[in-house]
Symmetry: C2
Subunit: 309 residues, 2 copies
């Protein structure tokens, strides 16, 4: 259990994981405003989009333009998601600081989602690293290991398989790995145990926790991962990014609730809470009619925190 006072980074993934699950297309102008305001609110890492074919996700077709703008903001780490080598080539061209490749620990989910077995994805990641190195790029390669806590298709995912794939991507030379529970199957004890085991394999290269709040345990899982030593978390403003199979169910943990959790515990995130809540109101207006989530925006900060907020 590590309860030091290291700061925590909340990577905003609403523009990618959030918007890709919403059918309506948010105009590029709005996205630029979102990035600008998130930066002004103190967020220093934003996943601005994904390099996938525009016909697959027309919501994210303007990713290259968003990268170009976001790169003008000093000190902001700009990341994008890429499903394969082709996407990675576009990411390298765009000049993004980091690219994230999803790798599903569930064989069944990997086949359904990427039409490749996990080990084939590992090989693709090796090709991405080769291309990055050949290009002389400093772009950071991060793997997001999804279904690490279980899978809606195959159910149970063995810890041994998570650890095997973790070693495989580390051997391939990726810079960072995160564990993701995109289906809301994790509980805080599972999180403690799996992160502890993965830290013993990956050390500081294990560098992200990605949790959804589908079953109400999102923030408890963030807390458990923090106790295990995680200092960087993905989150979506207003908790967008719901699961299409469970209408109304929560999506990603909400950035503002995660910011509140850490602020209340006295852990620095660099986030200006009022500014983030202001941006949430703006995004809620833009996405009027979509299912939004999160809790703190309703009740506001406790009286005990108003002086320090």
């Amino acid at each position: 259990m590590n309860q030091n006072t290291d700061s925590v980074t909340i990577r905003e993934v609403g523009l990618r994981d959030g918007l890709q699950s919403i059918a309506r297309i948010l105009p590029t102008e709005r996205k630029l405003e979102w990035i600008r305001d998130a930066y002004a609110a103190g967020q220093r890492e934003i996943e601005v989009g994904s390099f996938v074919p525009a016909r697959t996700l027309p919501q994210l077709a303007d990713t290259a333009e968003l990268v170009a703008y976001a790169k003008t903001l000093p000190g902001l780490t700009v990341s994008v998601l890429v499903p394969n080598l082709k996407g990675a080539e576009r990411a390298l061209e765009s000049g993004a600081h980091a690219l994230l490749v999803p790798l599903s620990a569930s064989h069944a989910h990997s086949l359904a989602n990427l039409r490749k077995a996990p080990d084939d994805v590992v090989q693709e990641i090796a090709r991405i690293r080769d291309r990055r190195d050949a290009a002389g790029s400093a772009c950071r390669i991060e793997v997001g290991m999804s279904t690490a806590f279980g899978c809606t298709i195959q159910g149970r995912v063995e810890v041994s398989e998570v650890l095997r794939l973790l070693r495989a991507v580390l051997d391939v030379g990726v810079d960072q790995v995160g564990l993701a529970d995109t289906v809301g199957y994790a509980d805080p004890l599972m999180v403690s145990r799996l992160f502890e085991q993965c830290f013993s394999v990956a050390g500081a290269r294990l560098a992200c926790g990605h949790f959804h709040d589908t079953r109400g345990l999102g923030l408890a899982n963030v807390y458990a991962a923090w106790q295990a030593g995680v200092r960087r978390f993905d989150a979506c403003l207003a908790g967008i990014g719901g699961c299409p199979h469970a209408p109304g169910a929560s999506g990603n943990v909400s950035s503002e609730d995660v910011a509140y959790l850490f602020a209340s515990m006295g852990v620095a995130t660099g986030v200006d809470f009022d500014a983030l809540i202001g941006l949430r109101a703006k995004v809620a207006h833009w996405l009027d009619g979509e299912a939004l989530h999160g809790t703190i925006w309703r009740a506001g900060l406790p009286k005990t925190m108003l002086a320090v907020a």
Copy 2:
């Protein structure tokens, strides 16, 4: 940190803390059905109501009748809330197994809520214990220390004051004490620290955690309290019991989400999950139009738990 496999008790307080915050009066017949079904779902401790003047809380005017019925269910611990000696006398007459006296650690909240300073409430508790002993009753006296983590009126509540009042009620001879965050000001680190300090004073007589989800941290706080050694939690079915000052804000942690948290972690609660979700649907129908909360009922159990549920 205590991560053994002790079972956990979820005390249902929806009939008291939940219904008292809802203006409509649930007919006695419905309440009896709720108690019967909660018992059938495996709940073994229920706070059925409160002995307060009927004009103050007409929603709870049938408490004596509910106690009488609940006492016919073998192995069920039937508790009631009482604000003062007069209420305690009615509780003793009713034959309830336990009576809970609220004590606010916040001076300002105590004056506003009970029109008495905390030390005057301690004296009232002493009188209640005397009356209980004089009656030769085995009724358990429990104190619920509210605003232990902060107060909407006075803001900060000092830990030293919580510990002082804890010692005072233990000296008076109460059987059990719980810590409550009825305003949603607690975070998991505060919970860890305060429970650890209070355990060192009260030992096993510290026996309940009562959390509201007003700011999204309810389940994270339950988890932190469990880590600190708490094995009994209050919860309301469907998370009823909202805060009147924050419309739409969540109330108590929901019984079904707490049951899911522990079931997922492999900790026994005795609760039959499907039966509890069935009762939730019934109560949601009875309270149609009221703000209900909780998360797991939408998404359902993870595939990984369906075999063991």
